[in-house]
Every structure is written in structure tokens, then in C-alpha cells.
Symmetry: C2
Subunit: 86 residues, 2 copies
């Protein structure tokens, strides 16, 4: 599965475009976000991507889960969002 | 549908407990969150609630969307999370 990494500085419209493209080609995407700012941008991106995909008949939902990621040798808790079609 | 309001100071475990109880009784919950901190707590709560509900056979997903809420007479953009079973 493709893994997208979103930061607090990611542009939600750009991330939504990537989510849409990957959903159309692969039907599943995983997004990783560390920290409140990144999680906020991810959620907005998913809401926007729903609008991009709805006219094509794809109704996406997300499944949030905890995961650990290694950042500069330090293990941190991240949120992964698995995006699927309904 | 029940509407839960989550803030940046909400306890994710407590919110997860409420989500679980409402999903068991009503099979659908809406959560409203304003701001990155509140959205972060909401996402963590949903991930925790998935763990509470999985043993009962309920596999929940969330649908994020934009909405407007009135806070002290000022209209602000909020995120609503619709929680459904898969």
C-alpha cells in the first residue's frame, strides 16, 4: 500500500489531490501523521478528497490507528489513517 | 444522531468510552471538533474506540467533513466526524 506522510505544513488541497489519484489507481492509501498539526492537515485533506472523489462514485472512509515511527533515531507515536472505499 | 463535542482538553479514553457506548446503542455518532488540538483528540479517541468495539464485532470507520458552528456569536469552521460501522 502507498504511504503518504503529511506534516503540519502540508497543503490540504495538494494532499487531497494525491489521495484522490492514489484511490483511483490503487483503491487504498495509508497516511502517516505525527503531531496535532499534521493530524489536522490530514483530516482536512481527507474531507477535501471526499469532494474530489464523490463525482467519480468513490465514497471514501478513514480508519485511524496508532503506529510507531522512527524520526531521527527517536521512536514517536504517529497516527496512521487507512483510507478505503465504503 | 447524537452529537459529541470534543475539545483539545477532552480525555481521549473518556471520549472513546462514550463513542463505544453510543455505537452500541445507536450504531452512529457524530463528533464535532474545532481546531487542531480538538481534532487531534478526536482522532485518538476514535482509534481507542476501535479497540473497545472490536471485541464486540463492531468495526468502526469515520467520515470527516467540514461544517460551520457558532461559537460565542462567531461562525467558525469545524470538522465533523461521522462514525459508522463498516
Amino acid at each position: 500500500m502507498d504511504i503518504l506522510k503529511v506534516s503540519s505544513r502540508s497543503n490540504p488541497n495538494a494532499v487531497a489531490g494525491t489521495i484522490s489519484a492514489l484511490m483511483k489507481s490503487d483503491n487504498e492509501v495509508e497516511i502517516q501523521a505525527v503531531g496535532a498539526g499534521a493530524i489536522n492537515q490530514t483530516v482536512k485533506s481527507i474531507a477535501i478528497a471526499r469532494g474530489y472523489l464523490a463525482p467519480t462514485g468513490l465514497d471514501i472512509v478513514c480508519i485511524p490507528a496508532f503506529t510507531n515511527v522512527d524520526i531521527d533515531g527517536v521512536e514517536r507515536t504517529a497516527i496512521k489513517f487507512i483510507i478505503e472505499t465504503k
